[in-house]
């Protein structure tokens, strides 16, 4: 039976099977897919931001500008005139 040091010595000589040779093509294809996916995510994020901005603008137009309350204005002016 081999000792551990002999096992290590022999294991150093073990070589991997021949490289599949398709790593380049499959890696480039995977990177391309990742880029397409990143592009779609970016596009989606842009669309959501534009949608939210349009929604906020519509809400602002629907609510209208803040107008001062005439009764409150009158009370304030009376308060100023009081001695």
């Amino acid at each position: 039976m081999m000792t551990l040091s002999r096992i290590v010595e022999l294991a150093r000589q073990d070589l991997p099977p021949p490289a599949p040779g398709a790593a380049a093509a499959s890696t480039i294809a995977r990177i391309e897919r990742m880029r397409v996916l990143q592009g779609r995510v970016l596009l989606g994020a842009c669309a959501v931001s534009v949608g939210l901005a349009v929604l906020a603008a519509c809400l602002a137009m629907w609510v209208g500008p803040a107008t001062p309350d005439p009764v409150e204005e009158l009370l304030v002016s009376i308060e100023w005139r009081l001695p």
Binding site: M1, L4, S5, A11, P16, I28
Partner: protein, 179 residues
């Protein structure tokens, strides 16, 4: 302009040439991390995907092979850590099967046996042993490859040798003098 400069600008043909030229080199490193052909091919591809996504940060004055070896080691180590978390996927041979492998004198069986024994110790110690004893790197080279300090590597190697000897003894294999 060389392939690295072209690859940095995103030229697929240049990337493809770099990958084809270094596939065997990366494959040799990752064969120490798994002996399953599917996992091995997947790790080789992961290494090149990481290379492609970080090649812009590669400084041409350092060696491309050294840089790739660091990426491959990181990918392999990450694979080990994932596997050690997922205990159900760790296949372990019986002690009898290990002793049968130890009776052989062939490199393939020895590598299979060592892989099984290493699978029984923690990934950091396993990495230290693979880099120093199987890859044959010096302590400082191994530390640089793993991204650890030289002191940390020395400590892990020391601990790993003791642990591997314990594991071997428990399977009925004589540790011998692992130098």
């Amino acid at each position: 302009m060389d392939d690295i400069a072209r690859a940095k600008r995103g030229d697929p043909a240049a990337l493809s040439r770099i990958i084809s030229g270094h596939e065997a080199f990366v494959g040799r490193i990752l064969w120490r991390f798994t002996r399953d052909r599917n996992d091995w091919e997947s790790l080789v591809q992961d290494t090149f995907v990481e290379m492609c996504s970080s090649i812009r940060g590669f400084r041409s004055e350092s060696s491309l092979e050294r840089w790739l070896a660091r990426i491959a080691t990181r990918v392999g180590y990450r694979f080990w850590r994932q596997r050690s978390r997922d205990r159900s996927r760790v296949s372990q041979l019986s002690d009898d099967a290990l002793r049968a492998l130890a009776a052989s004198q062939a490199p393939v069986e020895a590598a299979q046996l060592l892989h099984e024994l290493l699978g029984r110790i923690d990934p950091p110690e396993r990495l230290a042993l693979v880099l120093v004893y199987i890859e044959g790197l010096s302590m400082s080279e191994a530390a640089a490859r793993a991204g650890w300090s030289a002191g940390g590597m020395k400590m892990r190697v020391h601990r790993a040798r003791q642990r591997l000897a314990e594991v071997a003894r428990s399977c009925g294999i004589e540790p011998g003098d692992l130098q």
